[in-house]
């Protein structure tokens, strides 16, 4: 071996192990699309495990809102903190989960800027697997973010007429909507230049939209123009649907609109993200 010229120790005793490791593996049959997507979902879960702060970042704001709004404004707005908690909890549940969706775009952009995406794109796998898999993994995070808010609410005395079933149905509905919405952020994640830019753009959109909804106040108390906007805001419709389920008065119309919106977002933005991903 012609590195002998330098006195630098090389692989030495490991050489045999390396030789064996290099020669030992034949190519297995290709991974199925589902198996590839689930492997990416597993990757997303591992990140939550290694960097739990990621999850904390997005839940801490809604947690603060629950506490702040309930105790600061509860008495003034709804007459009692318990009454107000009952009004805002579905709204904050929605807010908490939708904030988390921005991170799907941030994570995708991070892969893009770090080059790991090239390894995935050079593998013989179902092309959308990294995207679909990540969003499956992210859906588990949405579920966690939602659960944190519900558990906190219950601890602060939240009780609803919809019972456990109604609350779980609301959580499921919010997660389905979040899955649809997260395709918007993955598209943004593909076109922006840095993870921070994705975060800023994402929150610049999602923050006002969540506030200009019926999450915190009854739209009837608003000026007419604003009231019309708030009522048309898809996030208000989602909150109404979640509220209905949690209160035991599900509104089929609202739920239908929410599911249709999620489907429409997926149909438009999923193919767009996949296309951008393949070209990147």
């Amino acid at each position: 071996m012609n590195t002998a010229a330098s006195n630098v120790p090389t692989l030495g005793a490991d050489a045999e192990a390396v030789r064996k490791a290099i020669s030992s593996t034949a190519r297995p049959p290709k991974a199925s699309p589902l198996s590839a997507a689930l492997s990416f979902g597993w990757r997303g879960m591992l990140k939550v495990k290694h960097v739990p702060e990621q999850l904390l970042d997005v839940t801490i704001t809604p947690v603060m809102f629950v506490l702040m709004f309930t105790y600061l404004f509860g008495g003034a707005i709804a007459g009692s903190t318990a009454e107000y908690l009952r009004y805002i909890l579905p709204g904050i549940l929605v807010m908490s989960v939708l904030f988390t969706t921005v991170y799907s775009g941030v994570a995708l952009n991070t892969d893009l800027t770090k080059g790991v995406i090239d390894r995935f794109r050079s593998l013989p796998i179902w092309r959308p697997a990294p995207l679909v898999g990540s969003l499956i993994g992210d859906s588990v995070r949405y579920l966690l973010a939602g659960t944190v808010i519900i558990v906190l609410g219950v601890a602060l005395g939240y009780r609803s007429d919809g019972g456990v079933g109604g609350v779980l149905a609301a959580l499921a509905l919010v997660v389905v909507f979040a899955f649809g919405l997260s395709w918007v952020f993955t598209t943004i994640g593909m076109v922006m230049r840095s993870p921070n830019a994705v975060m800023n753009a994402g929150f610049m959109g999602i923050f006002p939209l969540t506030f200009l909804s019926n999450a915190f106040v009854d739209p009837e108390t608003l000026p007419a123009g604003l009231e019309a906007f708030v009522n048309a805001n898809p996030i208000s419709i989602l909150i109404n649907a979640a509220r209905g389920l949690m209160e035991g008065t599900p509104a089929a119309g609202d739920i239908g609109i929410v599911l249709a919106t999620a489907l429409a977002l997926t149909l438009v933005f999923a193919p767009l993200t996949v296309r951008l991903y393949q070209r990147a």
Binding site: I22, A26, P124
Partner: protein, 331 residues
């Protein structure tokens, strides 16, 4: 078997344009199966863009290429099934542990869960990463990271490996380890396309070299042919006493041809194609009473190769930065 089928890579007239920059401007390559082929060039020469096209990550704007007999555009999936990427290009996931990275790649390549785990263990041990197996990759050193990167590329033994600057930024020990691994892969039958900025690296590993500049192949041949065409290298001598430089200049010019006085008043250098003649000239200086502080007989640097081939030094070109920007922002 025809000569066609013995070519692992066969590219004709590959072109890639980013905005106004012709990053790759009509590249032809023919790489024999089982060989190591070096693509040598400075940053911005278009090496990375060429590799990205061959590895199916980027569509060529013109030209065509077959990798292991498969068209890189029409049969991209068949190409992906047989090749692997390592180096600056395809990285590992920093937020996972080394072991998790290898298991993930194994699963994606179709290994069963248990197979993927045992393969990860085997590779981590072989590459000296067993102790760091459960640490996050962001805490790895450069050498460890590069070894993990190569391990991830051979979870399933590839027929062809694209290696982009595998040793840039590594210390000599890590660099030699990486070279040893590459040699073993070649011995096992893997064809390698190696992109590098270092002539020494290409010389150590490659059977054939193409020199790329401004997106074009400007020279091609074995490392020996290339060095011969460049004039092999230079003998650098530094004297103990600057006052003896005129004498040293006279002797070296007589023995080897016109000597060049360096900025350091005690140093001079002379083109020297032949190590024996260089050693003889140094001995001659000593015999004549010229005291030498140190001397070296070096291969030509990439700069010298470029100077000889193109008449201009291998300057940093904004083209590569331009392609990264273009690639981050898909049109």
């Amino acid at each position: 078997m025809t000569s066609e089928s013995q070519l692992a890579i066969e590219a004709t007239g590959l072109v890639k344009v980013f905005g106004k920059t012709r990053a790759v401007d009509g590249v032809d390559l023919a790489v024999r199966s089982g060989s190591v082929y070096g693509v040598l060039g400075p940053n911005g020469a278009g090496k990375t863009t060429a590799i990205r096209m061959l590895a199916t990550l980027l569509r060529p704007d013109a030209g065509s290429a077959r990798v292991l007999g498969h068209d890189i555009v029409k049969e991209a999936d068949a190409v992906r099934s047989a090749v692997t990427l390592t180096g600056q290009l395809a990285s590992v996931d920093e937020d996972l542990t080394g072991r998790e990275n290898l298991i993930l790649v194994g699963r994606l390549l179709g290994l069963k869960r248990a197979q993927a785990k045992s393969r990860a263990t085997e590779l981590l041990e072989a590459f000296g990463l067993a102790e760091a197996a459960t640490k996050l990759v962001k805490n790895y050193s450069g050498g460890m990271r590069r070894r993990l990167d190569i391990a991830a590329s051979i979870v399933v033994t590839p027929q062809l490996m694209f290696l982009d600057e595998p040793t840039t930024g590594l210390d000599p020990r890590s660099r030699n380890q990486v070279w040893d691994i590459i040699r073993m892969l070649v011995a096992g039958g893997t064809t390698i396309l190696l992109c590098t900025q270092y002539l020494e690296e290409a010389d150590q590993l490659a059977d054939g070299i193409a020199v790329i500049d401004h997106g074009k192949v400007i020279a091609e041949g074995t490392p020996g042919q290339l060095k011969a065409s460049v004039g092999a290298g230079a003998l650098h001598v530094r004297l103990l006493d600057p006052a003896q430089r005129p004498e040293a200049e006279r002797l070296l010019t007589r023995d080897l041809g016109s000597a060049f006085l360096e900025a350091d008043p005690a140093a001079l250098s002379v083109q020297c194609a032949d190590a024996d003649r260089g050693a003889e000239a140094v001995a001659e200086l000593t015999r004549s009473g010229v005291k030498i502080a140190d001397f070296s007989l070096g291969q030509p640097s990439l700069d010298e190769v470029f100077l000889a081939l193109t008449g201009h030094p291998a300057e940093e070109d904004p083209a590569d930065q331009a392609d990264t920007i273009e690639e981050e922002q898909p049109a």
